[in-house]
């Protein structure tokens, strides 16, 4: 079976994806535009966890915290500069820097994965508590008040670089968020095909072997962690833009659980899976929120538990397996190749 070269494959996805994203706002209602824009921001967050957990094998509770830091950093910077362009950069760099320090602390101490999970959780909770108590007027970053539990309202929207008066409305925001999510997806595919991606996946599969081969796994874990934090931060920037508001609940346990649920349901070890998971569950949450008879947590919890028990691999890998099982096995390696692809190419 001839395989399409990765470059052509990704090029096609990029073109088709971009075309759909640009065209879509003309065909769908205003509500739907807003909902999908939010989904795009969440998809970026999901991708960051899908990468760091699914490929680098680092279970991070803290992706939502990086997402939140990105959003807060963007908010504070945009309010102060009045121009969103440097604010985006800060929204990506601050979480990355934070992850660099935290990751150094964690990975260079060679803490086991369960401790990594707990420490990222603890840090998330610290951020939650800290941000929650910034209501004092003294917690000002320039002109931006952190606002404690009430959060930061009226965050300026994205604007044309250098022209704060030309800012993105909901439809433009839809396109920007969509293209950003697409770019993150393609970027991660490229990264996984490159040397770094191979090393990171090798590390997930067999950390000792990678060390014995001479790879400094501490370093590569740190790199993967920082990249994922930067991506999550970018998602946070999109989120802060989406409702022009951010508050400490992004650091809460409930919010931190969300990306984990998305990745788990969509499929660990894939990139499409987390995106799908984010779209399905975030849409489900909103629609369930409009009815009152059944508590939304009850449904989400049930779905999630059932998935862990019955579809532990998630939707995408299960579908892929189903698909390859149905194809006649001409070449004995075909099935193996396809399922491996599920685990390492996304």
């Amino acid at each position: 079976m001839a395989r399409v070269p990765l470059a052509i494959q990704l090029g096609a996805i990029a073109l088709a994806g971009a075309a759909v994203i640009v065209a879509l706002p003309s065909f769908i209602g205003y509500d739907t535009i807003l909902q999908i824009t939010l989904n795009f921001a969440f998809a970026i967050l999901a991708l960051s966890l899908g990468f760091v957990w699914g490929y680098a094998g680092i279970f991070s509770f803290g992706q939502a915290a990086f997402f939140g830091l990105g959003g807060y950093a963007y908010a504070a910077a945009a309010i102060n500069f009045g121009d969103s362009t440097p604010a985006i950069l800060i929204g990506v760099l601050l979480p990355a820097l934070f992850a660099l320090v935290l990751g150094y602390f964690v990975f260079y101490a060679r803490l086991s994965s369960i401790y990594v999970a707990v420490i990222t959780l603890v840090v998330t909770l610290i951020l939650y508590k800290f941000m929650g108590q910034t209501a004092k007027p003294s917690y000002m970053i320039g002109n931006a008040m952190l606002g404690g539990y009430n959060g930061i309202p009226a965050i300026p929207p994205l604007n044309v670089p250098g022209r704060p008066d030309l800012f993105a409305g909901p439809e433009e925001m839809f396109v920007i968020a969509g293209l950003t999510a697409l770019a993150v997806y393609i970027g991660l595919r490229v990264l996984l095909a490159a040397r770094l991606g191979k090393i990171v996946v090798g590390m997930r599969e067999n950390e000792l072997r990678m060390e014995l081969l001479g790879f400094d796994t501490r370093f590569y874990k740190l790199v993967a962690f920082v990249i994922a934090a930067a991506i999550a931060g970018l998602g946070g920037v999109m989120f802060a833009n989406w409702n022009a508001f951010i508050d400490p609940h992004v650091f809460g346990l409930g919010f931190s659980a969300q990306p984990i649920i998305w990745v788990m349901i969509g499929g660990l070890g894939t990139l499409i899976g987390p995106i799908l998971g984010a779209f399905i569950l975030s849409t489900l949450s909103l629609e369930l929120g409009t009815q009152k008879t059944i508590d939304i947590n009850l449904i989400l919890g049930l779905v999630f538990t059932v998935f862990v028990l019955l579809v532990p691999q998630g939707i995408i890998p299960t579908l892929r397996k189903f698909w390859t099982d149905r194809r006649p096995a001409r070449d004995p390696d075909a099935g193996a190749n396809a399922s491996r692809e599920a685990s390492s190419h996304g």
């Binding site: 108590q133 404690g148 539990y149 009430n150 008879t293």
Partner: protein, 410 residues
Amino acid sequence: MESINRRTLLRAASGTALVLAAPAILTRRAGAADAIEIGALHDSSGSHSIYGKEMDDAVKLAVEEINAAGGVLGRQLNLNAFDTGSNMQNYAQFAQRLVSSNKASVVFGGVSSASREVIRPIFARSKTLYFYDTFYEGGVCDKNAFVMAETPAQMIGPAIKQLIKEKNVKKIYTMWADYNYGYICSTWLEKLAAENGAELVAKEFFPLDVTDFSATITKIQDAKPDLVVSGLVGGNHIGFYRQWPAAGMLGKIPLHCTVFGPWEKNLLQPQEIEGLTTSYHYYQTIDSPENKAFLDKWAAKFGADHPEIGTLAVCSYNAVNIWKQAVEKVGDLDRDKLIAALETGISFDGPGGKMTVDAKTHHAVMSTVMAEVKNGEFVIIGQNTDVPPLDTSAVCDLIADPDQSIQYQP
């Protein structure tokens, strides 16, 4: 104490069936073509539902009454009420939906200050008239928004004056929820106390998830104040009202609470809160014919066994009626004309007394009462009329400078 009975269980069971039918309910479009579309955004579920539920009910009651009496300008009102579920994300989404899909001409809602700040800019941008009806920290100054509820000056001002005088207070110990509301109220209280010859010996702030107050209860006893003022908020802070009597402090030092309505009172045993004082525009125990009539209507709609209601319900109810008067005065739904009409000082005699729109601040001048808990009831021990929102009027003048849409911080 609410008990689980067969009905509650039945409700849960029928919920399962309903969710299967949900798509049909969600896609239903109600209302006649010529109806006036209005919107409501309240947290009927989630952590803020103890406040949001009665607000939502009050708006529904007011709209039903108006419709039963023939509507406004001969048109029925079609209420698009969304449950925001105590989630800020839902506020942004539903507000956009009200503006774009439902084309609401006015929206009542927002429970927490955070939710208000999420939706206020959306309505300002889309020029959709907006009413906020929750007591809050004050300072909102927005041509498009009207606040028909208490600010700190109205909640604390007359009450603290009365307490200082009656109990000869010199030293006040204060505790606040660690957020915007707490900080602004504490500043305001400090000023008021000074004007009346008392001083604040402590201002302590508690994150909203603190449940253990024993250290503070010890500190209070060390400080030996003449009055303790609590601005604690929310389910976790209820712990204080339980630990205070448990430490044997009840009645030892007078306790005044700035956020303590029926919502909090119902969570506690009467003997835990005996003698505690509090102050709002409205309590259910106000003895007046208007209130009696209102409570009858409320009981007719929501059942005689409805939970005790508070100022939030009445402020929401008043707001709808004040808007109705403005529409009737103007004769159409044009936003700018409605704002002008509201600024003429429209006033409404609600169940809690008179409430008048203050043109300069878009807030309300209102009557307030102080209550003391006796045997689990709010017994009215003080009444004031036409209390102005002094905190906000000190900084905000929308007549002199109409192009404003901000919240002033003290």
